[in-house]
């Protein structure tokens, strides 16, 4: 579906293949437009000769047989005709332009789609040879330049050549000699330009290669930044870029010079042409062989002629350029042994399943012509068996696991599951029934929940309620550009594959599976740190408030928990919280508007205005000076970049001198009055104490008097930002309402864990959990945890969490075959055992094949296959094989 078979290597073939009808239509329109165009050329002559000079006309003149005009009237009539011809000609041109625009954009869309579609079908080993740094610019920017050309590919030369021919025809009609004069220089240009262009073409190829290499190197620099830093090779890297940019500079300048030479020759020759008109035309007029009107019309026609001619030459350059870019892009998307297109076709539902014995017969897998990963492996794995693949790395265990998951296609031999040839099973069917977890599992930049459900997205299961006529047209346009016309907005998650009916039930199954792979606790913690929108989930917010109340009972009620005494300082509108920052104490809430975040709060004008009004600004400046002085005193002796700056200092190493200067120039005079302070200095100084946590930093700056003034200012801030136009920037701490800007745990605590109380975090965490369990809120928090965004590639998860989540993703779709390929190697050994046990029990009756780096884990499987040098070295029950002197015993001995 949406595929285009092999991709044409020639841009013109690509264009014509997908735009025959449009191109034919444009041809017709171009031809029609020429008639009107001819009129716009011919009429000026008549206006000159007949309208103005009145040659050969008797007035009053009859027009169209029903009214007659004098000479002025006739002139106006001709002008009207001219105007109409211009109008029609322009309208047709405009229509052609819009047509070709659509054509071009569609073709670009098609090209991009086919490239991405091909990336999806690249053979897995090919991904080791290409970097995303190369592929990305090809699909994004490089084709962009080709796209503009594709609309023009046939239309532009047709249109311009049509105009040129019309003009030439007109000139010949006036006078053959003039016509000849007008076109006399074209053959010369047509000969010399391609000659010059040839070298430009070669240079263009070089340029693309050089730029591509640079983008690959940038990718390497980013990926290898740790190596670059720790090896101190920045200079080496920079020298490399110097060299590469130098090459690009040379090529580009060379191209520029050659192109400007072509331009110069063209312009020069075009400007020479009028010379011929003046001399030959003038001679003919003097001789009386040509009317002056004809000469003027010819001159203006020739002037018109330079435009299409220039366009044609430009087109020629662009065509060369586009073809070459196209070729260079397309070449990168034609690797050997791509996954057959048929495997991506969406097959009929339901999937036939993989509930059969896996049978490999004489199976070989070659990475390329030289390297064989597997050599004639024959194995039968009965359905439901639990098989471990062990052996030295590179000996074939990984390759076999990957082949079973069809990440590698066999180069010879057969691979069947039951009656089905696994190599021919459509992707959607395979994905629905097979779970695979590799060593470095990838996660998409979305929530934990969506990543878990990723394996249930083979096809849209039902249309979205929002589907409407506009959406249908939208998809019809997609089909016209050869894109897959399936609606991403439809419901794609097939919950029935997970054994549940809908999204709500899915969270329950997700909890059970995550429990099995030892990830449930982590997701629960994500939930505690997560936020809930009380408008979207009022029930959850309500429940969290209940938990806050229950927690408060444990802190202060009649049955207060002694263990919690003094561990939490609750938010109290009437008290200063020593365990919160000064900023939090002032705002007494959580910022919603990023301008109120503590790092930038001191720059917020409305906030500063309140401080000023409350008379606190000067006090905070003085405090800022003291903090700055202390920081300078404490950290001045340390070298910049020392870890202490990051961990302890309020001021970055680079800013220490700046603050030193600020402190010096803001020193009060003898009378204790502060000098005039610039807004910038003021913001920087006030910014420092805002981060102070009294209990933690113990600088002795926050005195009881000061606290009193903070409380007054707090009230003023509440008045200023609590209502009116400034409302909604801060979520104020209110004991009775849910704070949407704060995490769930902060909403329950409604305070800060006290600094300086031993093991406070752990004790408080435990108490909070007990409260949640008592109220039956664990599931609600867990659901919020499922909303946790994992980051690009799962970057916000630890490697162990990534592997566990991948395992859960494979299990949640209840596969009939589960393939694990060193999936748990990053976990520590006790977690590995625990997670493997959980996975095996969750897999139930499914066939499990696990390639294991640690051969000892094979004890948990029914059967062990030892692979060495791409062949089966030993195969049998674990208990039996360890008794024999053989490869498994050797493996375990290491």
């Amino acid at each position: 579906m949406g595929g285009s078979g092999d991709i044409d290597r020639n841009i013109f073939r690509f264009v014509i293949r997908f735009s025959v009808k449009e191109t034919a239509l444009v041809c017709l329109l171009v031809a029609a437009a020429q008639a009107f165009y001819y009129v716009t050329l011919d009429l000026p002559k008549n206006i000159m000769n007949q309208g103005i000079q009145g040659h050969g006309i008797k007035f009053p003149k009859e027009i169209l047989g029903w009214f007659s005009v004098d000479q002025i009237g006739y002139l106006l009539w001709l002008c009207l005709l001219f105007f109409l011809a211009v109008l029609v000609n322009g309208a047709v041109k405009q229509y052609i332009n819009s047509l070709k625009g659509k054509l071009g954009e569609r073709l670009l869309r098609r090209l991009r789609y086919s490239l991405v579609e091909r990336i999806l079908r690249f053979p897995i080993p090919h991904f080791r040879k290409v970097s995303s740094g190369e592929l990305i610019p090809m699909v994004t920017s490089e084709v962009e330049q080709i796209g503009g050309f594709m609309g023009d590919a046939f239309v532009q030369p047709l249109m311009q050549a049509g105009m040129l021919l019309t003009i030439a025809l007109f000139l010949f009609m006036q006078n053959p000699v003039m016509g000849f004069a007008a076109i006399s220089l074209f053959p010369f240009q047509a000969y010399i330009v391609p000659m010059l262009q040839k070298r430009v073409k070669a240079l263009g190829k070089e340029r693309v290669r050089a730029v591509r290499k640079v983008s690959e190197r940038i990718g390497e620099t980013v990926g290898g930044i740790h190596e670059v830093r720790t090896n101190g090779t920045a200079s080496w890297e920079r020298a490399d870029y110097t060299e590469r940019f130098g090459t690009i500079f040379r090529i580009r300048f060379d191209i520029y010079q050659r192109k400007s030479l072509v331009k110069f020759i063209n312009n020069f020759l075009s400007q020479c042409a009028p010379l011929l008109f003046y001399s030959i035309g003038g001679y003919l007029v003097i001789q009386g062989q040509l009317s002056l009107g004809a000469l003027v019309a010819a001159l203006s026609a020739h002037k018109d002629m330079t435009a299409p001619w220039k366009e044609l030459l430009d087109y020629y350059q662009q065509a060369q350029d586009a073809q070459q870019k196209y070729e260079q892009v397309v070449e990168q998307f034609r690797p050997e042994q791509m996954l057959p297109e048929a495997l991506h076709e969406l097959p009929a539902d339901p999937a036939p399943g993989l509930a059969g014995d896996i049978a490999l017969a004489g199976l070989s897998v070659a990475e390329d012509a030289q390297t064989k990963l597997l050599e004639s492996v024959s194995l039968t794995i009965p359905h439901g068996a639990k098989v471990a693949l062990v052996g030295a790395a590179g000996g074939g265990r990984e390759a076999l696991a990957m082949t079973l998951a069809r990440l590698y296609l066999p180069s010879s031999g057969t691979l069947r599951v039951g009656e089905q040839d696994l190599t021919r099973l459509p992707d959607a069917h395979l994905g629905a029934s097979m779970g695979y977890v590799g060593p470095g599992a990838y996660h998409f930049s979305t929530s934990v929940r969506d990543n878990l459900a990723y394996g249930l997205r083979q096809r849209p299961v039902s249309a979205s309620e929002k589907h409407n006529a506009a959406r249908t047209r939208w998809l019809a346009e997609a089909a016209r550009a050869g894109n897959l016309p399936l609606d991403i907005e439809d419901n794609w998650i097939d919950y029935s594959r997970a054994g549940v009916a809908n999204a709500e039930q899915f969270d329950g199954i997700a909890a059970r599976v995550l429990e099995r792979v030892d990830l449930a606790e982590d997701v629960f913690l994500f939930g505690l740190r997560g936020r809930v929108d009380p408008r979207a989930k009022p029930a959850v917010a309500e429940a969290i408030l209940a938990a806050r109340a229950a927690f408060r009972e444990r802190l202060a009620g009649p049955q207060a928990d002694a263990a919690l005494k003094g561990l939490i300082e609750s938010f109290d509108p009437t008290r200063y919280n020593d365990n919160a920052t000064l900023a939090e104490n002032l705002l007494f809430g959580t910022p919603i508007d990023p301008a109120f975040e503590v790092d930038v709060l001191a720059e917020q004008p409305d906030f500063l205005a309140v401080l000023q009004k409350q008379g606190m600004a000067d006090e905070l400046i003085a405090m800022g000076r003291q903090v700055a002085e202390t920081m300078v005193e404490l950290f001045a002796g340390l070298p910049a970049g020392h870890e202490f700056f990051d961990r302890f200092s309020f001021i970055a190493a680079d800013d220490l001198p700046t603050f030193q200067a600020i402190v010096a120039r803001t020193a009060p005079d003898e009378s204790g009055k502060l000098p005039a302070i610039s807004d910038e200095d003021r913001a920087r100084l006030i910014g420092l104490p805002l981060k102070l946590v009294n209990a933690r930093h113990r600088l002795g700056l926050i005195t009881p008097d000061f606290k009193g003034r903070v409380l007054q200012t707090r009230a003023a801030i509440h008045d200023a930002f609590g209502k009116g136009p400034a409302a909604g920037k801060i979520a104020f701490f209110d004991p009775e309402s849910y704070n949407a800007a704060a995490a769930i745990q902060d909403n329950i605590l409604f305070g800060r864990v006290a600094y300086g109380q031993a093991k406070a975090q752990a004790i408080v965490g435990k108490a909070m959990r007990e409260v949640l369990d008592t109220l039956g809120l664990r599931e609600r928090v867990f659901e919020v945890g499922l909303d946790f965004q994992v980051g690009v590639g799962g970057s916000r998860l630890t490697p162990a969490q990534r592997q566990k989540l991948a395992l859960a993703r494979a299990l949640v779709k209840r596969p009939e075959i589960l393939v694990l390929n060193d999936a748990l190697a990053v976990l520590d050994s006790s977690t590995q055992v625990k997670t493997l046990d959980g996975a095996l029990s969750a897999a139930g009756s499914a066939t499990v094949v696990a390639a294991l780096a640690d051969a000892a884990l094979a004890a948990k499987f029914d059967r062990v296959v030892v692979l060495a040098d791409g062949r089966v070295a030993q195969d049998g029950r674990y208990g039996e094989l360890i008794e024999q002197d053989g490869p498994l015993k050797e493996l375990l001995a290491h």
Partner: protein, 153 residues
Amino acid sequence: MSIKEETDALKRIPLFSKLDPAKLKLLAFMSQRLSYEPGQAIFAQGDAGDAAYIVLDGEAAVLIDTNAGPTEIARTGKHEIVGEIAILCEVPRTATVRAAGDNPLVCLKIEKDDFMALVNEFPSMGLEIMRELARRIVKTNAQLRNAMAAKTA
């Protein structure tokens, strides 16, 4: 209590007494002030040693495991340091330390890594500590001599 008082407390500890006050202030600033309820353990015998503690207020009991159960061998009070051996060399805790007495124990926790980073940055600090340790050895040697003399006598 503010960082100034903690700096003063650090100054009273022989191990740190000769150090530059600015460095002591940094050490105090980087350290965590912790409070333990009576009976709560600061660390247990056999744990990995990751920090030293300076008692700012209250009392701590030092206990070692014997066949007859934990036995208190010493008590430390205000301005004394416990667990300092652990931040100088890699040995497990040789004793258990608990908050004792009726009042909470308040101490300053100095993380081993922070302390080491500080010594790395300011070698003069290391030198002072070396001197202090050498003095201790002299003292211990003298005690040993006296003990041997007492035994042979």
